[in-house]
Symmetry: C2
Subunit: 207 residues, 2 copies
Amino acid sequence: MPDQTKERIVDAAYRTLVKRGYHETSMKDIAAEAGVAPGLAHYYFETKEDLLVAAIEHGCQPVISAWQRAGVDLSGPLPEDADPMMVARMGFELAKEELRTYRGLFLLTFDMFGVGLHNAKIAAAVRTFIEERRAFIARITQGVITGMADPPIASADAIAAAIWGSLHGIYLQKVMNPAFDADAAIDALSEMTIAFVSRPRVSLEVR
Amino acid sequence: MPDQTKERIVDAAYRTLVKRGYHETSMKDIAAEAGVAPGLAHYYFETKEDLLVAAIEHGCQPVISAWQRAGVDLSGPLPEDADPMMVARMGFELAKEELRTYRGLFLLTFDMFGVGLHNAKIAAAVRTFIEERRAFIARITQGVITGMADPPIASADAIAAAIWGSLHGIYLQKVMNPAFDADAAIDALSEMTIAFVSRPRVSLEVR
DNA sequence: AGCGTTTGATTGATTGACCAAATAAACGTT
DNA sequence: AACGTTTATTTGGTCAATCAATCAAACGCT
């Protein structure tokens, strides 16, 4: 039951933090949601910050699994036999679906960003969070660039930063306004990047 | 002295909020920074939320002025005689400069986003903030699209959402990690968008 | 005298962290 | 298998500190 208890606390933390936000949630609230005594949360997690980080990792699990089911490891190199362009396309599609399915996760993520602005421990977690995901996009981008006849001036890292940024900027707009058409924005981003990398070839296909 | 006092409070709020963040800043702190009694802050601003919104508007002033000096009104239509493409280029350059000069403003902005996630009043301010800026980008985008031989599938609004998102995603990366090369990322975004809209012409210039 | 401004003490409520003690589980010894 | 011992888990309450907001009173200008 020990591990199960810890899991129950993390899960309760995720739900409570999503619903009420970091600053409006107390350790007592989380403990109550998990159905345990207040002190127990502190037994497993020294500070509320640790619990926030754990809750986000917990919430990211389904996304990581989705990529793994597609045969892609977020933290490793792309599969040798994968077409980077196809991985990119899939990434945009997955982003749209995730935004639809895991709205709470994005809420919590932006909450973490906000807390990280003035909290060293969370800031470190945020930097890691960003770097991992940006590096993943950079690997895809590098793969795409390698296959380009007329490679861009910008580095793969810089392009990845712009794409990661765009996705998260779109997520933010969606989180702040559910009526926002995130699919259209991601489609626009997709069209833009794909047209960009297929510039030379497209030139011959002008109808 | 009344108006001057209000201004002094807003300015103190800006500095304090940037330094310590919304949740870590008390009305007392702001009043102390302004050199006035705690109650006076509440005399001019009913709630801390109002003070945050005022502080951000205050902090945005220099940016708005910079655009006006360049002959562009953020909330109105573009000048008739302006080349949308040039306005776009200028926008990217200005973004780089602002990020260098007004780091505190971006910190405060993201803080506001974070607070807005679970605070109705701030959320409304955030939505307005986003929509105004996105609409501005959309006007530029529309102008650029109109001049395109082979217009994109995506609407100007969708493209504007992707670009606004990218810029703010880049700002976020810079704010969270000062070592991040935001200029390179913005250059990449610029290269991407400009290459995108000049696709057909570029196609004839393949060397 | 009167009004807009300013003061600063007070209110009522909340928080994260901490702790000492109760309980349960695991283990080795005989 | 019965026991004593150690370790792991869980409890619930305390703690000092903090906060946004209120308000009656004082101030100072006209």
